[in-house]
Symmetry: C2
Subunit: 423 residues, 2 copies
């Protein structure tokens, strides 16, 4: 078979009913009464979710291995096991009050691709592997995308082992416990050679749904800058202190947020600007606030815009401080990640050949693919989620969209695994 | 002696050194290492502070009685004990991290007036009494000015007995414990007839200090309206949700605060407008806020202004809600209290006669005098406090100002107690 016909065979072998059944099985692990999922990394639910997939792999005779951070790799061997594999996957952990699709969909679509290719009897040159990245959500142990960051060398194992939760337990201890229970073959090195990485995911935003499209070919994972802004004034009696003598940290902070909103105003609605934390002390109705801490989350796919606007955050805050003091700290500066153009074109081509409505899109959220993109050509495939909502029990994707995404994914990984030009 | 000469005799007999010594003694009860005072109502410190004053009274042979809420009355008997007495006083409890002057000064200046009048051998027609009002600060058991409110009938004893602290203990139990330890003669009825009430207090604001004046003749205790504003939006992902689709409770609340600031802008700087609480949920940097609760504390001495501006609070919030919902609840509406013009004129006259720099002033804070004003002609005498600061360990008043205030107070209560026209 040629790569072109093989990818259609693989897409055609996707079993939608099986995919939906697997999704329901996985969603039961950590299911909450409101229809959501609580399956945080390193918990009993994480162990049971991994065991479910390991059981499927065993039934197919696929090898399961892990790296030292329990990132798991399930391998359908190709004809040339010596060549770097084609890898797909996502994460299996959830937010504390999360949904059944974020991460889980990418793992299930990847698994379905492996089964479909296997069922279709396609012999690929390269091996195809399903990756399950550890602790993507970072809810108990920060940061997010911890497993892929360690894998890519952006964080050291020593660093993440020291990460501790609210109770003082470390990620290192949590990982050791997880490994005791799973009996994994810890055989993979971090950043082993890969031919390509493709991650399927729900969009976590409203653009596909609004446009009536089934698939998003992801161009860029937008960049992100985080700021922590501390405003310091002076506490005083609300009834007796004239406005002219106040050093009111809240009023200064409110003015800063207004100023930043003006700075970030964007008629094209691509800028993402959010003040998510805003904490006031002492927080008494009849006392003028002395301290405010607020955060700025600013994202954009274009690094020039990230620089131009982000670099003005401190200026705007200083200009609006009035009689208060202000300290602006940039706590995170992650540049945009432009995904691989060739694989993204394969996604478009597969969509076209399969008659699936598709559009180009940028990713507003961060994904494991961001770290993989530093190691090998990397792409992402998005499917819509209802009302653009995720990280809540209300998170939902339609079965038809899940199946379409799995078909495109199966097609693309097949094409990548068969075509070995000049090697 | 005439009332006019008696008031000068009384003022002249004020012993500044004794006043400052008493102040130091009282400040040691509940003293904190930072120079402040922690002497909350019903605590061991409250008991010991009361015992200190009771000891002074015993040494002078003055009777000490209380009402059922442990409001204490120390009596220097006049020639006509049947006539309603002239009462002065304030409170002896402090904020949890309070200063040594708020309340304490009014009690000590009142006591000094009694001693000065006694030392000068002045026989007054009416009795003069020093009142110590229970739980003015309301830090452990709300509301504030609890003792004077119960005394004046604004709250029932049953109501305040039910008030409970964070640990679930009730003010009723705390009061019973206090009464066990103090062995007071509980003989006074609430709202017994009084000829006049005069309260000395630190200003708790910067106006006297700024104007370089020693005494403030208080015209009005300004009115107060409190609002609780709840803004409800929708939580969503900071990276993926376009501005046009957001229902961002924080951005709506910030816009409301800006709108209210504009509404409350006052070139004459008499309006007091404070947002002291501003709470954001869920409060995560990368999540659009779903809920904000903020408070408005709005004060003014003129009830027409309180109505005109306060009645627009809800309108402004609604106009700025955008795609969010807003609920505005008025939690307190206390009209201004205009103090007695005749007694306030006596304060001015005494200042003039004693060569003390004096100005008219409004009270920004609430005081026990507010409830007394509903029962009898009532006035207040303010002295400056450093930087206008109170309710903190940094609270400070100069001895010279404390002494001047006690002289004016001694003069005024003497005049009130001697002059019995047409009775």
């Amino acid at each position: 078979v040629t790569a072109t016909s093989a990818r259609l065979l693989a897409a055609g072998a996707v079993d939608g009913e099986r995919l939906v059944r697997h999704h329901r099985q996985l969603a039961q692990i950590g299911a909450t009464p409101d229809g959501g999922v609580r399956r945080e990394a390193f918990t009993d639910e994480d162990v049971r979710a991994r065991e479910l997939v390991i059981g499927w792999a065993a039934a197919r005779g696929f090898a399961v291995e892990s790296d030292p951070f329990a990132n798991m790799f399930i391998r359908r061997a190709g004809q040339r096991p010596d060549l770097p594999p084609v890898v797909t996957g996502s994460h299996i952990d959830s937010q504390p009050a999360g949904g059944a699709f974020d991460g889980a969909y990418g793992v299930l679509a990847g698994w379905e691709a492996l089964e479909a290719i296997d069922d279709a009897g396609i012999e690929t040159t390269r091996s195809i592997e399903l990756a399950i990245w550890t602790n993507e959500e970072g809810s108990r142990f920060q940061p997010t995308t911890m497993g892929s960051a360690v894998f890519a060398g952006a964080l050291s194992l020593a660093e993440v082992f020291r990460a501790s939760d609210a109770a003082g337990h470390t990620a290192g201890d949590a990982l050791r416990q997880l490994l005791t229970r799973l009996d994994l073959a810890v055989r993979r090195e971090f950043a082993f050679p890969m031919h390509a990485f493709v991650e399927a995911h729900i969009e976590q935003g409203p653009l596909l749904e609004r446009a009536g499209k089934t698939i998003g070919a992801v161009h860029t994972i937008q960049g992100l800058r985080w700021f922590r802004i501390r405003v310091h004034g002076q506490t005083a009696h609300a009834g007796t202190t004239p406005a002219a003598e106040r050093r009111d940290a809240l009023m200064a902070a409110v003015s800063m947020v207004e100023g930043l909103s003006e700075l970030m105003r964007d008629p094209s609605d691509v800028v993402r600007f959010t003040v998510g934390r805003f904490e006031v002390r002492p927080g008494s109705p009849n006392t003028i606030p002395e301290d405010v801490l607020f955060t700025v989350d600013f994202r954009h796919p274009d690094s020039a815009v990230l620089s131009a606007l982000g670099d003005q955050v401190e200026t705007v805050c200083r200009a609006r401080a009035g009689r208060c003091e202000v300290a602006v700290e940039e706590s995170l500066d992650a540049p945009p990640t432009v995904l691989d153009a060739q694989i993204t074109q394969m996604v478009r081509d597969a969509g076209r050949d399969l008659g699936i409505e598709l559009m180009d899109i940028d990713s507003g959220a961060t994904h494991d693919a961001k770290y993989l993109a530093g190691l090998c050509p990397t792409a992402m495939i998005f499917i819509p989620c209802r009302n653009g909502v995720s990280h809540t029990p209300a998170e939902h994707a339609e079965p038809a969209d899940m199946i379409a995404g799995a078909r495109v994914l199966a097609a693309v990984v097949t094409e990548l695994a068969i075509d070995v030009p000049n090697q």
